[in-house]
Subunit: 406 residues, 2 copies
């Protein structure tokens, strides 16, 4: 056995952290082989340069990149600027105008500011696929395209469905998975990670690397993180997200609003605590030795501290408890259940619950900064609240326990 | 009407020559419109740089290029060297190794030597698609590929069949029709011509030109020329061809061997005579005023003169007639019918017909230069003759009327 290689036990240890919370690994045998060599692996994750405003859903994979960093591997944060500067060339959509070089670099800085709250800046390579794809000639593209068949691309779910239903697929759409695969060739990638919706494209990378004489990369897919509702995937458009740029009180309060089940899911996918510790906490809760609210506070503190600071996290806990825990809410406060939508806008539920005599009074009080929701000042009378449970406070004395349902 | 435009009658005159012998025009209305402007049109025909050894089948389209030249249009003889220098990148075949730049240029010279026997060198542009395709970037290719759909490519007969039968189609094969189409954009092509098997690719050019804001080209397809047998398309591998580099006696003799029906077909597709004159000859033959052999001699003379010289053509006629017409063949010469294959090799039919006592004698006489077939010396005892009728002469006195059948 060469001096640099790892013992099976050392490989086991790495595998335990790597496998934590993942959706799929293709395949374990290959990855063990790569790890056993004892050399730092090249880990690649691609990011869209157009959307650098992250929420916790995005951080699941970044957290996994962090795991690889902790194990001494080399992480490439790859910004897919090549396709972005082309824009959507099919002309069927103008929602994605081409980005300028300046915009790409600016977005990259925004990304860095956010992801370096998780990743170690010293051992993270931020790269751009325009570096090699931009230098490719037509002949290079044809050579790349020769390495994959139409039939295999047609196996991709969305292509198969669209072809069957006569929804046009432009030929260039066939080139994107190949370009992404070529990124792995250019970077000599050992492991590529992505969401479960990326499985097909990641597998193309394995094949294309073989075509170019490289050892195929391993594939790790990460699950989509459930949003605050515990059902749908976390997304901005569903309003069930925790943005990592949100103020400390929001991150803390929203984390406290998740169900106990979802809390353990978030622990597994987002926390830096080891699984041993998490499992001990879980057992303690099951056995009644630990209150679930205390466990949730731990998680809320960890996440708030990560994206702000330990001090900001402590302050957020204090503020939160001032409203929720320290007797701030009278036992006999009215309760209201409403549906997400027009009914879950402050103007609507304040009047509906009888906290104000009219929508006019509600609007006036909101403008006077009298409304707080989960301890955060609210100045917007019209934006509907997403599903969840809220403590609404109007002025010093008027309280409402609000539940917004789907 | 602008001064430069043509009258409907002038357009009619051009259309008559253009439409002669073609398989399909897409479409007449568009072409009339282009012609009516009275400006020289850009005519494009693509040629494979790997196979510059032409036979009459190839000259059908070159003849049509000549027609356009006679009408004052600008003809581009486009050598598709871009794809050829890539070779067959799929790795599934090594029958087509990439050509070097030197080979491409050398082949281009070979082409010129041949096609300038038909085309006017002064008004022929020889171009290479590597000039623009070689300069394309990956982004350019993606932009091009965005202009066409997978579904439309799947309509191409061979793609549809292969996909249905699970025979792999490499993705780069989808890029070839698009590259060919882009040639029309680069050249601002008004009319592209090709064989009937090219119809699909030529139509892609129309679409891609529109995508790039150009007026779509018109498409003219030329029929595949029947070989000497009058049934299958002329091809080297079938042995039913007249190569334009063959000696005068071969071109003359092979032309004389075609059926009367096929003769008129060759007249229409290959002769420089006007259709009026051809139709008058045809009528004269029908009415018995002209012997079909005389008409065939005219054609044989014209084709032989084109690829050699009028003098060489006259010499070939004299030699031919010395054997066939001037009593060279005794009335009572034996006749033999055999099948194409082993039986149609000289060694076989000479012995079978009893012209020699044995295959050994046949071989010896052939080596002594005693065998002529249709007036041409034959030194090869083993190569089977293709289907057709032959006058075989061994020494000064032994004759055989040979018919080789399929």
């Amino acid at each position: 056995m060469p001096a640099s290689s790892l013992s099976p036990r050392e490989v086991d240890e790495q595998m335990a952290l790597i496998a934590r919370g993942i959706a799929e690994l293709i395949n374990e045998e290959d990855l063990r082989k790569k790890l056993a060599r004892g050399k730092p692996l090249n880990i690649k994750v691609g990011f869209d340069p157009t959307a650098p405003d992250l929420h916790l859903g995005h951080t699941v994979v970044i957290q996994k990149m962090r795991h690889f960093q902790r194990l001494g591997h080399r992480v490439v944060f790859l910004i897919g600027d090549f396709t972005a500067t082309i824009g959507d060339p099919s002309g069927r959509s103008d929602t994605r105008p081409p980005l300028t070089r300046e915009q790409v670099l600016e977005n990259a800085e925004t990304y860095k500011k956010q992801v370096f709250k998780i990743l170690d800046p010293q051992s993270t390579v931020v790269d751009f696929n325009s570096r090699w794809l931009g230098a490719m000639t037509a002949a290079d593209v044809i050579r790349l395209a020769s390495g994959y068949t139409v039939a295999r691309l047609m196996e991709r779910d969305d292509f198969a469905k669209r072809f069957k239903n006569n929804i046009p697929i432009s030929v260039h759409e066939f080139l994107y998975p190949l370009a992404q695969a070529y990124d792995s060739v250019a970077l000599g990638t050992d492991v590529e990670m992505g969401g479960t919706d990326q499985t097909f494209n990641l597998l193309v990378g394995r094949h294309i690397q073989s075509q170019y004489g490289q050892e195929p990369q391993c594939i790790i897919t990460l699950p989509l993180l459930e949003g605050l509702d515990g059902i749908k995937k976390m997304s901005k458009s569903l309003g069930n997200y925790i943005g990592i740029n949100e103020p400390p009180g929001q991150i803390f309060g929203k984390t406290m609003s998740v169900s106990d089940d979802l809390m353990w899911r978030y622990y597994e996918l987002l926390s830096d605590k080891g699984m041993d510790e998490i499992n001990r906490m879980k057992e303690a809760v099951t056995q009644g030795r630990l209150h679930p609210k205390t466990a949730k506070e731990e998680l809320a503190l960890e996440l708030t501290a990560r994206y702000h600071s330990p001090q900001a996290a402590e302050d957020a806990r204090r503020d939160f408890n001032a409203v929720f825990a320290d007797g701030g809410v009278p036992e006999d406060a009215p309760a209201l259940v409403c549906s997400q939508g027009a009914d879950s806008a402050p103007l609507a539920f304040l009047a509906a619950a009888g906290l104000t005599a009219s929508r006019g009074e509600a609007r006036r009080l909101i403008l006077q900064k009298s409304l707080s929701i989960n301890g955060e000042l609210c100045l917007d009378p019209l934006s509907p609240l997403p599903p969840g449970e809220y403590i609404v406070k109007l002025g010093k004395k008027r309280f409402l326990k609000l539940e917004v349902r789907h």
